[in-house]
């Protein structure tokens, strides 16, 4: 079913193409980042299916993998030099708690 779902994703990408809102340029780095982000989206989805298949406890897999935004935080702070302020740091703690509670 994920195979069919991919065509829905593609449909959303085609709308701006048809409505001519896409401006292709030669920024290889930006275009490459976007391309790889799509590959990683698919790779993560395939890995998630595999984790559910081999994992004995689906709720553990759900809770563990739902914390991926905090890997983004680590990467963003490391590579993009983003600095969340003190309110946002407390907010991140609440977000992690919310994600875990809602995935149980």
């Amino acid at each position: 079913m994920q195979f069919i779902s991919a065509f829905g994703f593609l449909l959303v990408a085609l709308v701006p193409v048809v409505s001519r809102k896409v401006q292709f340029n030669k920024d290889l780095r930006a275009n490459g980042c976007a391309l790889i982000s799509g590959v990683l989206l698919g790779l993560g989805g395939i890995a998630l299916f595999g984790a559910y298949r081999y994992g004995e406890n689906a709720s553990v897999v759900t809770a563990a993998t739902s914390l991926y935004p905090f890997v983004t935080v680590i990467f963003a702070v490391t590579f993009l030099r983003e600095k969340p302020n003190k309110f946002q740091l407390i907010g991140l703690f609440f977000a992690a708690t919310a994600i875990l509670l809602l995935s149980l």
Partner: protein, 144 residues
Amino acid sequence: MHSLTWLWLSALVLLSWGALGVLQKMATNHITPQTAMVWAAAGFMLLQPILFPSGLVFDYSAANLGWALLNGIFNGLGFLSLMAAMHKGGKASIVEPLSAALYPVLFVLLAPVLLRETLKPTQALGIVCAITSAILLSAERQSG
């Protein structure tokens, strides 16, 4: 043999989707979300042959195919919205956790109505935490 396979696969999910947010930000710093979406869709489709169903696609009911397609459309809209938020200046370190904390709230609130599920106390607490996190994470201007 398979005892730790799920753990490695879960780590791959964390790394893939974790890096994804940073790449979305790096892309939308220089190109529009619509353009980035086209490239992302191209990348996304590259791996889809792996998932080609073993049976005939048309063995599934029209309703199931419709739901799967709708799932992809919402997935795409979410992906595009995240990139639009980053393109407008949102930090990857804020936008990703904010959306991840808030979107299950909608699901948890709709599930009792649409699926006749009951709201668990942990989920109610999760909603309170998600709303608190949204308020705190959006405090961009208050403390710089």
